[in-house]
């Protein structure tokens, strides 16, 4: 199944091919999780958004006009619902998972990281803008994602995505290296 394209998987899943469906889930779950978490949802809500997205895909599988754009469709569906859930939960205290990390002592995230470089990378990532974090998280998990899919999912013009992505990566690299010299 791993060698099949998304379009081929959709065609098979429409015929209730369970293996094709599982491959779609395997390929996209980290992306949906990232989309929901980057939208600022806590874990339980992000899990609900992932489940919602699969339920909606089950129901919409026959209506997807361009199966080759499955990845973009899934990420956009998850992101839109995540933003809606964030508004529903608006009265609760926000969970600032991606806020600036504490500088003086390690946060809980840093305790699970197994190398100094990983900690530096995590700290540097935390200093990026929301948009940069969103873009880099998607392209980190899905190298094959088209510019069009990423641009559509994060809401930037497709013509700007390449330069924005490069700028975000350059800033990340510079800040990882700056952490070394501190």
């Amino acid at each position: 199944m791993e060698e099949l394209t998304n379009a081929e998987l959709v065609v098979r899943a429409r015929l209730h091919d369970q293996a094709a469906w599982r491959e779609i889930v395997r390929r996209h779950l980290p992306l949906l999780w990232s989309a929901a978490r980057t939208a600022g949802l806590r874990e339980a809500d992000a899990a609900d958004v992932c489940q919602y997205t699969w339920l909606t895909l089950s129901e919409s599988l026959h209506r997807i006009r361009e199966p080759a754009k499955l990845s973009g469709w899934l990420i956009t569906t998850a992101r839109n619902e995540a933003l809606r859930v964030r508004k529903v939960r608006g009265r609760e205290l926000p969970v600032d998972l991606w806020g600036p990390p504490e500088v003086d002592y390690p946060g809980p995230e840093e305790l699970v990281l197994d190398s100094e470089r990983a900690v530096r990378l995590w700290r540097a990532f935390g200093t990026l803008t929301d948009q940069c974090r969103e873009i880099l998280r998607l392209v980190a998990y899905a190298p094959g994602l088209s510019y069009q899919d990423v641009a559509g999912a994060v809401g930037v013009p497709v013509g700007n995505l390449g330069s924005t992505r490069s700028r975000c990566l350059a800033v990340l690299r510079r800040r990882v290296e700056a952490e070394v010299s501190v």
Binding site: L29, E43, D45, C50, W54, L55, A118, W122, A140, Y141
Partner: protein, 146 residues
């Protein structure tokens, strides 16, 4: 491998450690055969836009859906630690029932002669409402997260 790709791979590895996908999510993503329900159109959702003159009353979320001449109004209240209480009005009243579904179960609530129905304490998370009226196609809100 380009230096950019190396950095992105390192980032993916860090994210996998700091914020891993919960393992149960893959199992929860089972395929469900599509239904023949007719989708209702979302008209308003207080989560997205609070109607003029109203300021988010308590924790209630109000939604309106329409299809042809049918209107479905929902008021959802999340009761901390217990679940979601749903109160709804289907107009015009024609009798029938409303099927409230969540990923692991469902509940049927009868529509009274005015068109009201209620469902007490369904689980929070993805929900779907299906309006079943005699002689008419079943109408669905589609899934959404509450």
């Amino acid at each position: 491998m380009t230096p950019d790709r190396d950095l992105l791979d390192d980032l993916a590895a860090v994210l996998d450690q700091v914020d891993p996908v919960p393992p149960h999510l893959a199992e929860a993503a089972a395929f469900r055969p599509p239904t023949a329900f007719v989708p209702l159109e979302w008209t308003t959702d207080s989560a997205v836009a609070v109607p003029a003159g109203k300021r988010g009353a308590g924790g209630s979320r109000t939604l309106r859906f329409t299809a042809g001449t049918t209107t479905v109004d929902l008021r959802l209240d999340t009761v901390d630690g217990l679940g979601v209480r749903a109160l709804g009005l289907v107009h015009p009243p024609r009798g029938g029932s409303v099927l409230v579904s969540w990923p692991s179960g469902d509940h049927v609530a009868d529509l009274d002669h005015i068109g009201w129905f209620r469902a007490d304490l369904v689980p929070p998370g993805p929900l779907r409402f299906v309006v079943r009226q005699p002689g008419l196609p079943d109408l669905t809100t589609g899934w959404f997260v509450q």
